[in-house]
Symmetry: C2
Subunit: 288 residues, 2 copies
């Protein structure tokens, strides 16, 4: 496995593989790799000839400087993880390689970024879309793998790829959870003991929502109410939003007709967690 630090270097390495007819998979990450990331990498390794994992803590997607500074950085461990799971290349550029001067051009998502996390994290999805666009240009992969845990991020990127005619295929990968249901996240490590015990309430609420939907409830308001009642039993969880949105457009729905996601963000102490579950009339589309 190779660790490459420059855009020119990774472009050349990937171009050579593709020139030999190899299928290339990209797993964009911010490092601090956990079992959720491993699932993404393993999926790419299974489906592609060459897997590239990018590791870059992207400053322009953090709307709070402190969150950016506190974000865990463990490149040595991450490289070992990538190697163990079967990646061929780690692309780990320095800040100066990705942003040699302040950006003047951004990729700006529209309505898809307006709800859920959008209002609470100004500029976040613009930062995500822009850096993912840059990574797609640096690493010209056939496929790119994203976790369903960040459902709005996934929708923003799918919409970007479609709107801008990008040739890469986006592969969503199901959320990996702890045995008590808490979705894997690099931020979980920052939870205090009590908050960690409280955190599974989010998924418990989402499961309640899913049960109501499976039982035939189609009023989004009632689904939300039921989920919030479950989360509300846990005093330490302060819900920021909980909503039922169209699975592709991320627009809130009143009545559940097509595929939807029930998404939640909540604070546990000073740590903000998000989670979601998908629901569709067609059982094969259910995920969570």
């Amino acid at each position: 496995m190779r660790v490459i630090e420059t855009v020119a270097g990774v472009r050349e390495a990937v171009g050579k593989e593709r020139g030999e007819g190899k299928r290339v998979g990209l797993v964009p990450t911010m490092g601090a790799l956990h079992v959720g990331h491993e699932a993404l990498i393993a999926r790419s390794v299974a489906e592609c000839d060459v897997t590239v994992v990018s590791i870059f803590v992207n400053p322009i997607q953090f709307n709070q400087r402190e969150d950016f500074e506190r974000y865990p950085r463990e490149l040595g461990q991450d490289v070992a993880t990538c190697n163990r799971v079967g990646a061929a290349i780690v692309f780990a550029p320095a800040h100066e390689e990705m942003y040699p001067r302040p950006l003047d051009t951004y990729v700006e998502p529209g309505k898809v970024a307006e709800h859920l996390c959008g209002p609470f994290r100004p500029g976040h999805f613009r930062g995500v879309a822009t850096v993912v666009c840059k990574l797609f240009h640096a690493v010209e992969a056939d496929r790119a793998y994203f976790g369903e845990k960040d459902a709005q991020q996934l929708a923003v990127i799918q919409r970007m790829v479609s709107d801008l005619n990008m040739a890469v295929e986006i592969v969503p990968v199901a959320t990996v959870r702890e045995h008590d249901g808490l979705a894997m996240s690099s931020r979980n490590a920052r939870l205090g003991e009590a908050e960690r015990r409280a955190a599974p309430a989010l998924y418990a609420g989402l499961r309640e929502a899913l049960e109501r939907l499976k039982s035939g409830e189609r009023e989004a308001g009632r689904v939300k109410e039921a989920a919030l009642a479950v989360i509300g039993r846990e005093a330490l969880a302060r819900v920021e939003y909980l909503d039922v949105v169209d699975a592709a457009s991320m627009q809130p729905v009143d009545q559940v007709a097509g595929p939807v996601r029930v998404a939640v963000a909540a604070w546990l102490g000073g740590v903000r967690l998000i989670d979601n579950v998908g629901f569709s009339e067609c059982p094969s589309n259910i995920s969570g």
Copy 2:
């Protein structure tokens, strides 16, 4: 020569050529091809193995519906021109192929789009950057050719390519002019007889600016004054802006130190024309 109407079709055709080691050049146009476009195509034909000319009148870069509707469309003639000058592929998508649904994601240029035409054409450069980004993804060319006549458009695209790590090389091509100095433009055909006679005043003013710069004048204010005095002799030309800007950032300068462009926009009757000249201490960088 082939005419291709779909993104998938042109991607496949270009991918095949590149797979065989061919160098591909792209000339993005809105059709109504004139001698200026022919210079772009000829340059690509000289430098690349395969030249693709895209012809698409892009609605999202017109800030006036009427201007979009009036924009000349002559696909038959344009295809003949491309064939004659040596293009291998014309990519001529229908509106529905480029915009199957309303866009939600845009490429948003920043400061580079704030001056000159920016304030007078709200949304124009966002529309240009977005469609060129889409074309670069549909036609994965090694090089793309743009006229210096649209200097701010060129700067917006160069900045986009740099900011977003796009692999394509942007090649600027010098402005082609009528024998009286009027820069070639598809809009020239809309000039009335008197306005057509008046139109060379723009370039006359720019040449005056260039003379002052060559004579050692470094105060942008005096350079502008001299240019405006020349254009002012022609009563039919109503100047919208005339400015001296940094050649890369398109920011106005007070003192000329590095490479600059002197750029003008003016109305002749109901037709808006733009033109510019470049100046640098290093003579080889002078163009116009």
